[in-house]
């Protein structure tokens, strides 16, 4: 499946980027494609395009703070988690998405 994610932690310095890597590792391990947008202390990186969002089966919002551009996902299937879940249990998260949300 195709996933997109937005990641933003409280200070936008470390957890955001660890969470991003963990999500990519876990999704790719399970054979899914994923694109991750980070909203950190130096701004937005890897901004999701309209096409990315259109094609995505699910949007993962791994956010501890209010993020910008959420209206882009208004009509999409979403899952909202804390960044700590992405850091600690990204593989379980992907499995949960496979089993419950997209089945």
């Amino acid at each position: 499946m195709k996933l997109v994610a937005v990641v933003a932690c409280t200070s936008g310095i470390a957890h955001t980027y660890i969470a991003k890597e963990k999500l990519i590792k876990a999704a790719e391990k399970k054979g899914h494609s994923i694109k991750v947008e980070t909203q950190g202390t130096i701004g937005t990186e890897g901004k999701l395009t309209k096409k990315d969002i259109e094609e995505a089966d699910l949007v993962i919002m791994a956010t501890d703070i209010q993020t910008t551009g959420n209206e882009r996902f208004d009509n999409k299937k979403k899952i909202k988690i804390a960044t700590s879940i992405a850091v600690k249990a990204s593989e379980q998260l992907i499995e949960k998405i496979e089993n419950e949300i997209l089945s």
Partner: protein
Amino acid sequence: MDEYLTENFNIADVITEGLIDLDLQAESKEEAILELTNILYKEGLITDVTDFSEDVFLREKEGATGLGQGVAIPHGKSDSVIKTALAIGKTTHPIEWESLDDKPVNIIILFAVRNTEANTLHIKLLQKVAILLADDSFIHALCHVKTKKELLRLLSKEPG
């Protein structure tokens, strides 16, 4: 590959041997943060120990900075930071810390970030360290480093 991994980075811009202490004496989280903050002060990277450590403690209240597997990444974005940098310490005894695996830590990586960081390169170096920290084999190697040089070598590794 991400744009920020293809640029030419030198990790020495944010971490040097002087910013590493593999023999921290701290026995609590507060002591560990203060010990590392003192190192940052001695190296001329922050203007004030109290100001900076208070910003770090403030961040600690917002959520766990223990990543699990014995590693914690406290961080402070503060007006007292002169130059964005890291200070890394290894404690002799495991220290109680709010961690994602509820276990104590013995490797502490303190991120000191300027409040108005104009140099995105420095932030990207910190990002690179964060990316390394997402790799279990890196964490394993980190927990077993014996010398400062070994640690610096480990940190200069390209995430893969």
